[in-house]
Amino acid sequence: MHEHRLRFKTLFTVLLMVVCANVGDLLLKRGMTQIGAVHISLDGLQHALLSTVQNGTIWLAILFLLGFTLCYMSAVSWADYSYVMPAGAFGYATQTLLAILVLHEGVTLKRWIGVFVICFGVMLVGQTKPNTTKQPQVAS
C-alpha cells in the first residue's frame, strides 16, 4: 500500500513537473513574440531587458519555471534521479506537440525523429548511476 502511494505521488509530481516546464517555455515564447525579435546591439539588448521585465507573460512563465524547479527538487528528494530524469526527456516530445497545437508551428518528420533521438538519449543517461564520485555508505 505504501509503495502504491509512493508510486502515485512520484508519477503525479513528475507529470506536474513536465506540465510546468512545458507551459513555462510556451509562455516564454508567447512573451518574446509580444516583445518582438531582439536586436544584438547595446540599445537592442537594453530595450529587450526592459521589455522582458515589464512583460506579464514572461513573469507568469518564470512562475511556472519556479514550479518546475520545486517539483523537480521534491521529486528527487524521495525518488531516484534515474526515475525522474527520463521524464525530462518525455517533456521534449510533449513540448514539440504543444508547439504544433498551441503555437501552430510546422514540425517536419526529420525534426520529430531528432526529438525522439534526444528523448532516447536522455533516457539512457537517466538509467546510469546518478552518483559516480561518492561511494554509498554501507551500514556495518
Binding site: D25, M32, V38, A48, V117, I118, G121, M123, V125, T132
Partner: protein, 124 residues
C-alpha cells in the same frame, strides 16, 4: 540561421558553465541538513560566501537571457530540443572539470542527444 547557431553556442556555454560552477560550489558547501529554517539559513549563509556560486549566478542569468533572445528569433520546437546539447557540454565539463566518472552507457546516451540535436538544428 548562423546567428541562431551562435546564440545557441552562448546558451550552451553559459548554461553548462553556470551549472558546473554551481555544482562545484554546492559540493564545497556541503549538503542541506534538513529543511528546518535554521538549517536553510545556515546553508544560504555558506552559499553566499562561496565564490563559485557568485560565478554561477551571472552565467545562469546570461543563459536565461540568451534563451529569451533565441525564442524571439526561432520557433520553440527548434530552440528547446536544440538546448538539449547542454547534456553533451555538461557531460564533458563533469568529466574533465568535476572529475566525474562517465560510463559507456552514459556516453552512448550523450552521443544520441548530440545526434538528435544535429537532426533538429538541420531542420532549422
Amino acid at each position: 540561421m548562423i546567428k541562431v547557431i551562435l546564440m545557441l553556442g552562448v546558451l550552451i556555454c553559459t548554461s553548462a558553465g553556470g551549472e558546473i560552477a554551481m555544482t562545484y560550489g554546492m559540493k564545497r558547501i556541503g549538503e542541506l541538513e534538513g529543511f528546518h529554517p535554521r538549517s536553510v539559513l545556515r546553508f544560504l549563509g555558506r552559499a553566499v560566501k562561496c565564490g563559485w556560486v557568485w560565478l554561477a549566478l551571472p552565467l545562469l542569468a546570461v543563459s536565461f537571457y540568451s534563451l529569451l533572445i533565441l525564442l524571439s528569433w526561432a520557433p520553440i520546437s527548434l530552440v528547446i530540443p536544440a538546448s538539449a546539447f547542454n547534456y553533451v557540454a555538461g557531460t564533458f565539463g563533469a568529466k574533465y572539470l568535476l572529475k566525474e566518472k562517465v560510463t559507456p552507457k552514459r556516453w552512448l546516451g550523450v552521443t544520441l542527444v548530440f545526434l538528435g540535436v544535429l537532426l533538429v538544428v538541420a531542420t532549422g
